[in-house]
């Protein structure tokens, strides 16, 4: 759901290749649930793959239809669901556990109402605290299957997951029942109606999903989360995998993105350790993007309540689910809330092009206004929509001119890190000391000028206690490569043939000087291989991923349950439930605007010939595809009198207007329109730019196509600019929303 093998994903190539290999040999079958039929593995003659056109923003409903069928047939793995802790599940052959059996307090008068029951609530004695534990370990309460009595979740090997009753005089229900309630809220016919799919499809997938033990997997998509109810869709994947216990299992929902310590405190260098670093964290400071906190936990809330205000409402929503959010940071900056961004330094980012709903005059005017953002410095290799609004632009290097160490992306079960290193000398200006202009050089120089710790002489500490300088990118990244080379068993020294073949003896002297003579030949070995990858045979053990760690699937999320909405006082559902898209106060969007007037949803998807904000400057990409289209289903187009190639106008309730060429096709679900993102630039080479007195003429071809404009949330005070977003996670409402379509 939300991912299309062969069309997108990480890594697109690996997924496409392996998917088709295995479909051909009959080793797997795949259902691709997506509103748009992408170019991908659903080819006319591929075996075992089915495209299920789903109505946008209804992923949770589709999943719940499958869950309901599995619950009705009792084909879930009851043994797995009754494991109340990781140790017992592991002993049973699994690599995850659920909180299905954990009890929730449902007594409205209890002080811990809506919370998971703790040992103290049940009058049970907690085990002695582990002296080594740094944070308190919560002890939840279950009904032990053997005794039928309350027990602490770590002290039971099997517990009831459909319990409803009283414990210690307190009304409780097991977490699993909340999922069950929500799954049975609609019939399969209703779920088929909501999703635009069929009962037969959901029944077929439900049957198939439970027929392979732990060798089936519902996978987290990418685009599926970028809707205003995306969080509910994201909860669907673990909920399904939890019914069969396939998380972290070989052939199931295997572990991925497994890597070693590189740019952190590793085997050779403590790269995350900064001596004298100011103690600033989410505990004593607040992210400008309003994440990691509920409004009720903020100083503002406490001050307003102390001043006598009842139920104060924040200027912008607070989001306790995500760690950080770039699109929400942008919204905070333009609305100067929770605080003003007096100095904005942006690096390699184009938030206003990348966040649907943000590329609008009102946002641009705020970013230009020096009373809103007094100083804006952008560091970028390109002058995109965001960077062109900056007061200063610091030239940056491209990926071919810089370093990077990343965990191997994608649905790959092995362990490894890829290393990107300067393949060419940077094209940016050379500084007087021989360095080239780059984000790294900029950071070092600004930090040194401000007397910040962690930069300049003696900034980096090796694990043997020696100190090293940090003056440029190589000083840092080569040490990260050394960490990788020495992780677990150190790699062998580089071979002479590799040095000669790849001209590694011609690398800059500063690279060799950044590490010790002992490390250098091993660093070269890793560079010569583009990274380090552990043998794939060691990645699996006894039917599980060898990298499996304690993993909990929550059927009841206490964090969600306690997330009382400050605008309406509504508590969101703690378990997976189909909730239609809503605004920030949890009012369904269809109650604010008429579905008759605005009958269409958007499906904003990853393009083949662009990226989110880049690639429009590539002549070859523009040659392959000059613009995107507004994609409409055959039947919807017929009703609207629109023919393939017609110019169509799309509007939303905020008054945004988009005009583009219609692509009328069978490969899109009804009641939605598809539009690939990455098109419709204002800048990024489309504009004229004067650089140091020289005019660079813009190329209008870079601007071709349509940029999707999502509506603004109308439920906040006047003057607030808040593009429609998910109320839990703040992810942009890229897909979904409300639109009207007409022939232009």
């Amino acid at each position: 759901m939300g991912a299309f093998p062969g069309s997108n994903g990480k890594s697109f190539q690996g997924i496409a290749k392996r998917t088709l290999d295995r479909l051909q040999t009959g080793e797997c079958t795949i259902d691709v649930v997506d509103p748009v039929l992408g170019n991908g593995c659903v080819t006319p003659t591929a075996k075992g793959i089915t495209w299920v056109p789903i109505k946008t923003a209804t992923n949770a409903a589709f999943a719940l239809g499958i869950v309901r069928k599995i619950l009705e047939d009792k084909t879930y793995n009851a043994t797995f669901l009754s494991y109340p802790n990781y140790q017992s599940a592991f002993a049973g052959g699994f690599a995850s556990y659920t909180n299905a059996s954990h009890l929730v307090i449902v007594d409205e008068n209890h002080p811990n109402y809506r919370k998971l029951m703790r040992a103290a609530d049940a009058g049970l004695e907690e085990p002695p605290a582990d002296p080594k534990a740094t944070t308190p370990v919560p002890y939840y309460v279950v009904i032990d299957q053997a005794t039928g009595q309350p027990a602490i979740h770590t002290q039971s090997d099997a517990a009831q997951f459909e319990y409803e009753g009283e414990v210690n005089g307190v009304k409780v229900r097991s977490s699993f029942l909340f999922l069950k309630d929500n799954a049975f809220e609609h019939t399969l016919d209703e779920y088929a109606e909501i999703t635009g799919t069929s009962v037969a499809t959901m029944e077929r997938i439900a049957k198939e999903f439970v027929s392979h033990g732990t060798k089936a997997s519902a996978r987290l998509g990418f685009g599926g989360s970028a809707t205003a109810n995306g969080t509910t869709g994201v909860l669907a994947y673990p909920a399904l995998n939890g019914l069969i216990g396939s998380a972290q299992m070989t052939g199931g929902c295997n572990c991925y993105r497994i890597g070693s310590k590189t740019t952190t405190d590793g085997d050779r260098y403590k790269l995350a350790t900064v001596k004298g670093k100011p103690a600033v964290s989410a505990k004593n400071a607040t992210y400008i993007c309003r994440t990691q906190k509920l409004f009720s936990q903020t100083d503002e809330y406490k001050a307003r309540v102390a001043a006598g205000e009842k139920d104060p409402k924040p200027k912008l929503p607070w989001l306790n689910v995500p760690s950080t959010s770039d699109n929400q940071a942008l919204v905070s900056i333009v609305n100067e809330y929770p605080y003003q961004a007096k100095i904005l330094v942006s690096w390699m980012t184009n938030t206003i092009q990348a966040s649907s709903g943000a590329l609008r005059d009102s946002v641009i005017e705020k970013l230009k206004d020096t009373s809103v953002v007094p100083l804006h410095i952008a560091c970028d290799a390109f002058i995109g929509e965001h960077a062109q609004l900056a007061d200063y632009i610091v030239p940056d290097t491209t990926p071919f001119e810089s370093f990077g160490l990343v965990t191997q992306e994608g649905y790959w079960r092995g362990k490894g890190n890829t290393v990107r290193w300067q393949a060419k000398q940077p094209s940016t200006i050379e500084l007087s000391d021989g360095r080239f202009a780059s984000f790294e050089a900029f950071c070092v120089d600004v930090a040194k000028a401000c007397d910040m710790p962690g930069f300049g002489d003696n900034a980096i500490e090796a694990t043997d206690g020696t100190s090293y300088p940090l003056n440029d990118a190589a000083d840092f990244f080569l040490k990260a490569v050394a960490n990788l080379a020495f992780a677990e068993e150190p790699v062998a020294d580089v071979r002479d043939e590799d040095v000669k073949l790849q001209a590694l003896d011609e690398l800059p002297a500063a690279w060799k000087e950044a590490v010790t003579p002992e490390e250098w030949p091993k660093v070269l070995n890793v560079l010569s291989r583009g990274g380090r990858f552990w043998p794939i045979e060691t990645s699996q053990k006894n039917g599980r991923s060898a990298y499996a760690k304690e993993y909990l699937i929550q059927y009841y999320s206490e964090k969600k349950a306690l997330n009382k909405n400050p605008y309406s006082g509504v508590h969101p559902d703690a378990a997976l439930r189909y909730v239609p898209e809503d605004f920030c106060d949890r009012t369904p969007i269809a109650e604010v605007y008429s579905e008759q007037e605005w009958p269409f949803r958007s499906t904003n998807y990853k393009p083949r010939f662009r990226s989110i904000s880049m690639q429009a400057n590539s002549p070859i990409m523009r040659d392959l595809c000059e613009k995107n289209y507004l994609e409409l289903n055959l039947d919807d187009a017929a009703e609207l009198g629109i023919k393939d190639g017609d110019t169509v106008r799309i509007t939303n309730p905020t008054g945004d207007v988009m005009t583009g060429e219609a692509m009328v096709r069978a490969g899109i679900a009804r009641s939605t329109f598809g539009v690939a993102y990455g098109y419709g630039h204002h800048a990024y080479g489309a504009q004229d730019a004067e650089i140091d007195g020289t005019l660079a003429k813009g190329d209008p071809a870079i601007a071709a196509g349509v940029h999707l404009q999502t509506m603004l949330d109308p439920m906040l005070e006047d003057g607030v600019i808040y593009p429609h977003a998910d109320s839990d996670a703040g992810s942009p409402g890229r897909s979904g929303g409300m639109y009207n379509i007409e022939k232009a």
Binding site: G6, K17, L37, N39, T45, F609, D644, G645
Partner: protein, 206 residues
């Protein structure tokens, strides 16, 4: 011993229309903008039960009985010993007869020089035993390449195993570019415009 016949087999069930082949070809051969030696056409089809997306890579078919070679007045278009159809730029006068004669529309004219260009099966690579750029870059290994006349080659084995079909077989040109699943895909009703890369070449009728 039979003579060598370089050829390509494209399995349509494996082509996902990513266009990596088209990009690799452009970079390898320096093909001018707006011209393509190879490209991918994509469209929606109705299989009778569901909608799927067809992708068909196209290129010069390196016909044994090549009409472009026949009509060339200067001998600029010719076939090599391995059966590869090439253009000698020195001899090309830009009359474009070959472009008109080619049923696959595989030839283009260089707007700067007036000379005609086309796919060479990456002759500078394949004549040294390397694969053409489009084949070596293919993400899903949808393209096979090699000597069709050598029963031990990968391509000949694949043809023997699954069969093959040619575009416009009725013209009797004996093309060296073959497909798996061609008539099956061609038999499915078309339910969208046909795109070349991401640009429309044939709008949806109706």
């Amino acid at each position: 011993m039979t003579e060598k016949r370089l050829g390509m087999l494209i399995d349509l069930s494996l082509c996902i229309g990513c266009n990596a082949c088209a990009v690799a070809c452009k970079q390898e051969n320096g093909v001018p903008l707006t011209k393509f030696n190879t490209w991918v056409e994509s469209w929606d089809v109705n299989t009778g039960e569901q909608t799927r997306r067809a992708n068909q890579p196209k290129l010069c078919n390196h016909c044994a009985d090549a009409p472009c070679v026949k009509v060339c007045p200067t001998g600029a278009s010719y076939r090599t010993e391995e059966g590869v159809v090439l253009v000698d730029e020195e001899k090309c006068i830009g009359c474009k007869y070959c472009m008109a004669a080619c049923p696959f529309q595989a030839r283009w004219v260089n707007d700067d020089t007036g000379e005609v260009g086309k796919c060479t099966f990456c002759y500078h690579r394949s004549s040294h035993g390397l694969l053409p750029a489009c084949v070596s870059t293919c993400v899903t290994r949808a393209r096979y390449f090699g000597d069709l006349n050598d029963p031990k080659s990968d391509i000949a084995k694949k043809v023997a195993e699954v069969g093959s079909e040619a575009l416009y077989a009725d013209l009797g040109l004996d093309p060296a570019v073959l497909y798996v699943g061609l008539s099956q895909v061609e038999g499915m009703p078309v339910t969208s415009a046909i795109h070349r890369g991401g640009n429309v070449v044939k709008p949806l009728e109706g």
